[in-house]
């Protein structure tokens, strides 16, 4: 295991090892990504669009687009091997042990069925509840995710609900079978800040009451800052930095993490010049011998592009992939 991100020691819920995903004509979009998520842990996966964060979590869910393929690597969910799993295994895992919520909640709900029907169906199929029990449990779950008038919501169709309510319904469906891991891919991006904060609170509360682990995928560092215990920063298909949220935000060790912090929301409102990260991320599959961030990095030297840069273990659960780790220590904070 060359490039593993140090994680918790106790039996992880999810273990991803050397995951390589290619799209289209063998263009490698995710390069040997390894990480693990402990029981009940919340981990944020952060990166710009095109960084491979969505492909990584789609591989874990077995929901890669038709052109995508896992080339090698292992994905293990609490002892169950998911790499090369049969359709039957996936059906046993998805929705029961593995829950997921996405950005465009409306497109994941059936528009012609009431939302209560959709949740009750899940409970009857996956948990074998009777019609009456499923109804009762569905109303309980709707109450738990903070929907007002849960009995009334049960009989509503998706189009009658606001975006925030739809997202709550989807969360209720995805936690209905007590999953070990909930993946939220940009689940709050389309919502306004008040609802976003409520949904993030809800996810935190469900973590405590249901003991589920959370993988929060987002492009906004500010969102994970207050929700997650650990952060994985992805850039151009590689994990470039990882560690506890507090450590990473207080002392970033990779210039990209520092750049991301510069462009993230800082919670002050005075007029200022907004920072940007110059240039564009490399296109998918682009062959780069060294650091993939080097062309946009203000600290880059010729050493950065001469050969592969390993993800260096920095101890204390931290790792960073930078050729100038020692030289830049202290310069990035």
């Amino acid at each position: 295991m060359p490039d593993s991100v140090p994680g918790p020691v106790l039996s992880p819920v999810l273990e991803v090892t050397d995951l390589r995903v290619s799209v289209g004509d063998h263009l490698v979009a995710v390069h040997d990504v390894s990480f693990s998520i402990g029981r009940g842990e919340s981990v944020g996966l952060v990166g710009e669009s095109g960084s491979g964060k969505t492909l990584t979590c789609r591989s874990v869910l077995g929901l890669l687009p038709a052109t995508g393929e896992v080339d090698h690597g292992r994905i293990v969910l609490g002892g169950t091997e998911l790499t090369g799993a049969t359709r039957r295994t996936w059906n046993e895992v998805r929705g029961t042990r593995l829950g997921a919520v996405f950005q465009d909640s409306a497109s994941y709900l059936n528009p012609s069925l009431t939302v209560g029907h959709q949740l009750a169906e899940q409970l009857r199929v996956k948990r074998g509840l009777s019609r009456a029990d499923a109804h009762r449990r569905a109303v309980e779950l709707f109450t738990e995710v903070g929907l007002h008038d849960p009995e009334g919501v049960f009989h509503r169709y998706p189009h009658e609900l606001s975006g925030g309510m739809q997202q709550r319904v989807l969360i209720a469906i995805s936690v209905s079978c007590e999953p070990e891991l909930l993946i939220a891919d940009e689940a709050t991006t389309a919502l306004d800040v008040v609802i976003q904060a409520e949904i993030l609170d809800l996810l935190g509360r469900l973590r405590e009451t249901h003991g589920l682990a959370l993988l929060l995928v987002t492009h906004d560092l500010a969102v994970v800052a207050e929700t997650c215990e650990r952060i994985l920063v992805m850039y151009a298909g590689e994990i470039v930095e990882s560690g506890t949220t507090e450590e990473v935000l207080a002392r970033p060790r990779h210039p990209y993490t520092q750049a991301l912090m510069g462009v993230a929301t800082i919670g002050t409102w005075e007029r200022r010049a907004l920072e940007v990260i110059p240039g564009q991320p490399p296109s998918v599959g682009e062959d780069m011998p060294g650091c993939r961030f080097a062309p946009r990095c203000r600290f880059a030297t010729s050493a950065c592009t001469s050969g592969p840069v390993p993800l260096a273990d920095l101890g204390g659960g931290r790792a960073a992939r930078c050729a100038r780790l020692d030289a830049l220590e202290g310069a990035l904070a």
């Binding site: 008040v194 993030l200 800082i266």
Partner: protein, 351 residues
């Protein structure tokens, strides 16, 4: 007025004595009235909204989905007819424009819209050159050669190299580049007012700041009045001069952005700023301090203050919708406890 008009002298946002480009007063817009039992019709989309935008100024409009932000933009460009109120553009009453005059006004491109998703709002079959040129063709006031010059000039203004861009199509551009093409298209007619409806919410953080900085530069270089509609305070941070907070079809608070967001007068604005995520550990209110307590009384959905059902500080007076009151520092808020709720906050915290 045509696309060839002279640019006004650049005026800083501080110059509040300058006449506003856009003056909206007591504007109400209503789509089909709600019909019982059908869930059809939304009723009032905008109720007695007033707003002013001056040249060179960026005004942010924040609010949740369905709060009337986009309706205001649609009414201003004449896409929906207001039920009541006035919209004045450069002193001219828009309500008086009808038929041919209205059509000519729209074609002149004095007010332009920029939308959230450039992939959907830009025709995928057109090249960048055709996209940016189209509003000029519609305005029809410039010669062919002049239009070509204007296209190149607009692209340069948004930081794109015309030589490499002109022949490309939207698919061949990155997200940030596409949104900049939308901006180039919007400014090619030299508008006086630019309405940007969620211009950056489809972009990631780095591109977001790039497009926002660009808007900031355009307003000072072109003396452009800009309205940015956002559901998210981070899309306004750092560039907007003033902000108007919308809630359920009403403007509940407005004023200079820093004052409004640092010391909100309306509890909803307080909830907005408390809910905004941040990477810095700043000492601020927590959203749970502002959400209603579990034993809060139930409010009817009509007739009362629009925010009462979600307000921690709702009391008997809130059974009537408060009118906007003027506060010191060029601010106004529509709340019975405007600015005073903080004192209630400390008592609630202690109890």
């Amino acid at each position: 007025m045509t696309a060839t008009r002279e640019r006004p002298e650049v005026s800083g946002p501080e110059h509040t004595q300058v006449a506003p480009v856009l003056r909206v007063s007591d504007l109400s817009v209503s789509y089909a009235p709600p019909r019982k039992g059908t869930h059809l019709g939304t009723g009032a989309a905008l109720t007695a909204a007033s707003l002013e935008v001056r040249p060179g100024e960026i005004v942010g409009i924040v609010g949740e989905t369905g709060s009337g932000k986009t309706t205001l933009a649609r009414a201003t460009v004449g896409l929906v007819r207001p039920a009541a109120g006035r919209i004045e553009l450069d002193g001219q009453d828009m309500g008086s424009l009808k038929g041919r005059a209205l059509r000519e006004f729209r074609r002149s491109g004095q007010v332009q819209l920029v939308f959230q998703d450039p992939l959907r709002s830009l025709d995928p079959d057109l090249t960048v050159a055709e996209l940016v040129r189209e509003p000029l063709d519609i305005a029809g006031t410039l010669s062919r050669a002049e239009r070509d010059v204007r296209v190149a000039e607009s692209l340069r203004l948004v930081g794109l190299e015309p030589e490499s861009m002109l022949g490309r199509r939207p698919r061949q551009l990155s997200g940030g580049q596409r949104q900049r093409v939308s901006l180039a298209r919007a400014i090619s007619t030299h508008p006086k007012l630019l309405f940007c409806d969620e211009p950056v919410s489809a972009l990631d953080v780095s591109n977001r700041n790039l497009v926002l900085s660009l808007l900031d530069r355009l307003r000072s270089e072109l003396g452009l009045a800009v309205v940015i509609i956002a559901h998210d305070l981070s899309s306004l941070a750092g560039i907007a001069d003033r902000v108007a907070v919308f809630y359920r079809s009403r403007v509940v608070e407005q004023g200079p952005i820093q004052d409004v967001l640092q010391r909100p007068a309306h509890p909803y604005t307080g909830l907005l700023t408390a809910s905004a995520p941040s990477v810095a550990h700043v000492d601020r209110l927590r959203p749970e301090q502002l959400r209603p307590q579990p034993d809060a009384r139930a409010w009817p959905s009509h007739g009362v203050c629009v925010f009462a059902p979600r307000c921690r500080f709702a009391h008997d007076a809130c059974a009537d919708q408060p009118a906007p009151v003027t506060l010191p520092g060029d601010r106004e808020a529509a709340c019975h406890v405007a600015g005073e709720w903080r004192t209630h906050l400390t008592t609630t915290k202690e109890s």
